[in-house]
Symmetry: C2
Subunit: 196 residues, 2 copies
DNA sequence: GGTTCACATGAACAAACGTTCAGGTATCGA
DNA sequence: TCGATACCTGAACGTTTGTTCATGTGAACC
């Protein structure tokens, strides 16, 4: 084999691992296949990662940070709560479409494998900005009065479901626009003004 | 060991398998553990199921039929589309809470393991009644004009996400009532009457 | 040329897995 | 008591897996 830089080899391994882990799940994924796809020998992987678990964790943490930065980058800019919400949803959906493999992996393995605490923390941090947007919207009079915490949970859960469905089924396409609209105005014709 | 009826043994195996599969996922689940929990020997399992895959499939198919019957039982009764929708959501949420293990298993393994076609068919059949409800609501004037297919997809995806979140996080509790309300009236204060 | 260093290899090992099978046991009708 | 039947056992087998390690190779410096 050609001589390569350590950095390049590591990158190759990470990419291959992301492929294999997301296609097969952690348990079924096998180091030999990752090595093959990365164009390196089995032993080679262990030069860069202590073991399978470390490889997996490293992967997940990288991507999490990435997603988090993406969301942070688009928040705080917009003026109205409606706009903020739209941006929030759009950022997530677009990121998810770009990184299907990561999404699949993350949802598949969430709550089962190691590092559960980190995962819960991650999700909690995802909800926080959403809750803020809703509170802002209520205060500004854009949104109806509601329990911001509950609604944030519902929206986050729905978003997860939408992303999951799109990642799983190629023929499920839900645009940020139509999702935002649905979340904003609901189904009823008269906007449910009879309710509190 | 005590002598048991074949039927009882089979039941024990199915229950144990559901536990183990949903906790560990298909790949990591191991026959010896299932046997232990079921209170039978490894060899014993193979008296009732050809192999691991058949055991898994049998499990999944049983539960799917069960859920399907549940949904079918509560549809068609109600009068207004709003009521129908509420029933639909409630049935799913309640079933999901009762059978967390199955839900976890189903979502975890969807699109990855064998029998993918059956799974897609299952999801398509889930969406159909929902779409009908929406069309009914539009015709009756209860719901705003919208693309019923798209909205059905969004609602189904959201429902999946809500169920997933509740199954994964014990502290995420979303009642059918609050979910229904949210889907019906959305977030905006004025119901978005400016939109088409 | 010799030495050092970073990078790479894949046979070998131990553990864990799904599955098989030769045999064992309780129950019951004859 | 004697099969016959239904139910059950777990050692054994072959395979696959994660991981290790003795060994190899090319480039850079002296």
């Amino acid at each position: 084999m050609n001589k390569r830089s350590g950095i390049e080899s590591k990158k190759r391994i990470i990419n291959a691992a992301l492929d294999v882990f997301s296609m097969q799940g952690y348990a079924k994924a096998n180091m030999r296949e990752i090595a093959k796809i990365a164009g390196i020998s089995i032993g080679g992987i262990y030069l860069y990662f202590k073991n399978k678990e470390e490889l997996y964790k490293s992967l997940i943490n990288d991507r999490r940070r990435d997603l988090f930065n993406n969301v942070a980058a688009t928040s705080g800019k917009s003026i109205s709560a409606t706009e903020s919400l739209s941006n929030f949803l759009t950022t997530y959906l677009e990121y998810a479409l770009k990184h299907k493999e990561f999404i699949l992996l993350h949802i598949r393995e969430h709550g089962f494998s190691f590092d559960i605490d980190k995962k819960r923390e991650f999700f909690r941090q995802q909800i926080k900005p959403l809750e803020k947007i809703i509170i802002k919207g209520i205060h500004s009079g854009e949104f109806r009065k509601c329990n911001a915490k509950d609604i944030a949970k519902i929206i986050m859960a729905s978003l997860r479901g939408v992303i999951l469905s799109m990642a799983l089924d190629d023929d499920v396409v839900i645009t940020p626009k139509i999702l935002t609209e649905f979340i904003l105005i609901g189904l009823l014709k008269n906007g449910g003004e009879g309710k509190k």
